[in-house]
């Protein structure tokens, strides 16, 4: 259990998808102008990445890995060269399905969170989480924890930045620094602050 908690804390804070690996930068910058938008996107991302990382783990273990197709009578087959394409396909498909379900059964939720779902297919943080799961050889349980906490960490970062940008509204930086420049600097300071969590383990 402690192992999972340590993994979660590490993924949310010190190995934060955006502040340590720069993943999901585009929507991070584009959707952090308002706290409400940021919160919706954060929730949707957390949900999708909690779902897709374990799903892609199953895909890897039972289809893509060398010898993974032994259950289908093809023990010699190694399809790992297709992994990139199938991982992104899973994410795109899951997004589409979730969007349809939410739209059909929970229109209120769709209005707040659902509209962000199409954005998430192209969110590097989600695909990145899958790639890290693949590269670091996580177990199924670990991939579940990692999927959730990488999304949650990303969400935490974007909500925090949205709050900070609201305050920046009242500041008056030099004109060329306005917008992207000052946001980048702010993110840099956030990254430094998050590094303070280094060293927490259970």
């Amino acid at each position: 259990m402690n192992h999972y908690i340590t993994l979660a804390i590490k993924t949310i804070f010190t190995d934060n998808m955006i502040l340590a690996y720069f993943l999901g930068m585009c929507s991070f910058l584009a959707c952090s102008k308002q706290i409400k938008t940021a919160t919706g996107l954060a929730m949707a991302t957390t949900f999708i990445s909690t779902m897709t990382v374990p799903m892609n783990w199953l895909l890897k273990a039972y289809v893509l890995k060398k010898g993974a197709l032994a259950w289908a009578g093809l023990p010699g087959l190694d399809l790992s060269y297709l992994s990139f394409i199938l991982f992104i396909a899973t994410i795109a498909a899951l997004n589409q399905i979730t969007e349809m379900i939410v739209d059909r059964f929970a229109p209120a939720l769709y209005a707040t969170v659902g509209i962000f779902l199409p954005l998430i297919t192209a969110n590097c943080a989600v695909l990145g989480a899958t790639f890290f799961m693949d590269q670091r050889d996580y177990t199924f349980g670990e991939s579940l924890v990692f999927g959730f906490s990488s999304g949650a960490g990303w969400g935490l970062a974007i909500i925090t930045l949205a709050a900070l940008r609201k305050k920046l509204w009242y500041s008056n930086p030099p004109a060329p620094l306005k917008g992207l420049g000052i946001t980048m600097m702010t993110t840099g300071f956030m990254a430094m602050a998050f590094m303070a969590f280094a060293g927490i383990a259970f």
Binding site: F22, L127, F131, P176, L180, M184, M192
Partner: protein, 209 residues
């Protein structure tokens, strides 16, 4: 029609400087910043992105009249993924050590919004050759930012350039130490912010709140 007329040159220069994708469109920095600690990885990443972006644009432009519009995004993703997998496979075979470090980030070129932005925004409506140049120009503009950040990070963070020591020994003896913030993530954010600021000072581009 000439292959390198004034119009064609303009397409490349637009991407490279006038409408630099990072400074203007705020696109595609996700997959790349993480590999800017060292020049070597950044260079490979830049080459990979350039290859995928220019040929991806060309391939999409070639088949643009046949793509059914309701599945066009997924077709573009497919074309890009195929090129990305090719890059990754070649790296795995010939540059194994590098590939171990950057394979994840090479894979993430698939979701690089810059790539999808160019294929959807330009290549879907233009012939192959201008699309290729547009992709190339944007990729070069993107790579130049990447390599600049990486050069600064490696020189100030590790005192090396492409792995060769560049900070003279007597600097260290005089008490100079490498700035480890450059090796860490915040350094990249600060540098990117500063570079964007400088680029906008020169080009005069402003962003409204």
């Amino acid at each position: 029609m000439s292959l390198f007329g004034k119009k064609e040159r303009l397409i490349v220069i637009d991407g490279l400087w006038n409408k630099n994708p990072i400074s203007f469109l705020v696109m595609g920095i996700c997959s790349a910043l993480a590999v800017t600690v060292k020049m070597q990885t950044a260079l490979i990443m830049a080459l990979g992105t350039t290859f995928v972006l220019s040929f991806g644009c060309m391939a999409v432009a070639l088949i643009r009249n046949y793509i059914p519009s309701n599945i066009r995004i997924i077709v573009q993703i497919l074309v890009v993924s195929v090129l990305v997998i090719m890059v990754d496979q070649v790296l795995r075979a010939f540059f194994f050590d590098l590939s171990k470090q950057i394979s994840v980030f090479i894979g993430l070129i698939i979701t690089n919004t810059l790539v999808l932005g160019r294929t959807e925004g330009y290549a879907m409506n233009n012939p192959p050759w201008p699309s290729f140049l547009d992709g190339l120009g944007n990729a070069l503009g993107y790579s130049s930012f990447l390599l600049m950040i990486s050069a600064l990070r490696e020189i100030f963070g590790s005192g090396t350039f492409f792995g060769f020591p560049v900070v003279p020994h007597f600097f260290y003896q005089a008490g100079y130490i490498n700035n480890s913030i450059m090796v860490l993530a915040p350094g990249a954010f600060f540098l990117l912010g500063a570079l964007v600021c400088i680029h906008r000072m020169i080009t005069g581009h402003r962003e409204e709140h």
